[in-house]
Symmetry: C2
Subunit: 269 residues, 2 copies
């Protein structure tokens, strides 16, 4: 049988999703928990490679097993008992034999959290990126719309694994205020938290972190929304904003439009 | 001159405020930063001893120094550059020579965070206590009122350092829902976060954690609000609820009613 696991994890302690030679990965930690619990060797396929320090509010992985000795509705609690508290299994579901967490995912949304503050907030350390200057939210919202559509995103990626094409579709790109646990706009804080959400059919290496850096340039007046369009058209990485640190980034929502078995888990909410 | 520092810290990595032989403390970490920056030996007095793992949304410490070589308005940024990111100095203020962070504090409020959920939330690990059963908020609110007033709190303390009297005044005790960063009531969660706030003129050892444990007993039907009053009157520790873990506890608000120099920092908000 083919089993999909729905996860959430704080990536601070991990070298990303994928198994690495040097250092713990989420994939390896979860694989060990599954193998220990079910007494078999298996391979976990994940919806995407997250970098070191990147978090996941929602994440999907799947593995194949001859027979699962534990009923699927009890698997989350049993796995959580084996896992460190920074990784949680929220649900387990049987999916068709052909299901693959990565290739069956039709759309993904990442969220990048920024908090504009002169002073650090200990409760946001490792969870959101601190930007020590005020930003203009309306300008950022205007800038964000320039990323929407099917276009070449070469200007907002880091060179990594070679890719056939740098064209991707961004379905939406939203900038909004939000609140945070422990964060209350006290003294040094110039404004509440800002969340940038980018939804696409695929992402180039560091693409969301470079989009977020570019939007901070727009929000602080270093770039105009119109210049974002020019930079994308010209594909000049050096003209766009910086790649922001990994710790502000979250895999946020997922769409599996051809896998009705995952619909009850509201991964797109 | 006498300098008050206003702090915030995530206590996860520390053996509490007070200097310990085995393990880092917030006091020691902050003392080292002050001494390194200002090139002198000094002693930091803190508003209270927080236990290992307890957090502080607000905390006040003070130290005396002949002359401060850095202007006070620049001291927070300079100290933060020396400090790990789980401790932040939010402000520094000159206070009268007789000021002491502990003895001049007239009222303190602690907050205890509980999240009722079958499943763990990686983003609340070490930040809030997970209670795997639903609770009745209205019952908890009724129970909380039984703790208000000047009375003997021997039933809700752990035996530690001997104290002359176990009578204290609780000014308010409130139970309310609140939201949290990353937490969104997904699947396993039975309800949003619950915050228990207890304000008093002083606290016995583990008193807030035992009040929180007793209120969870009330919320899950193991005790009635009326029984809380009986338990307090009889002073029977075994009849009250358990002492909940340290990681859900925060020093939250402080009152320095006789120190107008601290009024601009809104420590009571």
């Amino acid at each position: 049988m083919n089993v999909a696991l729905i996860l959430s994890y704080d990536g601070t302690a991990y070298h990303g999703w994928q198994v690495q030679k040097n250092g713990a990965s989420v994939q390896q930690t979860l694989t060990e928990a599954v193998e220990k619990l079910l007494g078999c060797k298996t391979y976990l396929s994940g919806v995407g490679r997250t970098d070191a320090g990147v978090h996941a509010r929602r994440y999907v992985a799947n593995f194949k097993i001859d027979t699962c000795t534990i009923p699927l509705d009890r698997l989350p609690l049993a796995l959580n008992a084996q896992l460190p508290e920074d990784i949680a299994v929220l649900a387990a579901a049987e999916v068709p034999a052909a299901f693959d967490a990565r290739f069956c995912c039709t759309k993904k949304e990442y969220a990048y959290y920024v908090y504009p503050s002169r002073l650090p907030d200990p409760f946001l350390a490792g969870r959101a990126y601190r930007h020590p200057y005020p930003v203009d939210l309306t300008r950022m919202q205007e800038g964000a719309q320039r990323f929407v559509g099917r276009q070449d995103f070469a200007a907002v990626r880091s060179t990594g694994t070679p890719v056939k094409s740098t064209v991707r579709t961004v379905f939406h790109c939203e900038v909004e205020r939000c609140t945070a646990f422990g964060f209350d706009g006290y003294m040094g804080a110039t404004a509440p938290l800002i969340r940038i959400r980018v939804c696409g059919d695929g992402f180039l290496y560091n693409m969301v972190r470079a989009i977020a850096g570019t939007l901070l340039y727009v929000g602080s007046g270093k770039l105009s929304p119109g210049e974002v369009t020019e930079i994308l058209q010209q594909g000049m990485r050096a003209q766009a904003g910086p790649t922001l640190p990994a710790h502000g980034l979250y895999m946020n929502r997922l769409w599996y439009e051809k896998t009705p078995e995952l619909a009850p888990y509201r991964l797109d909410e």
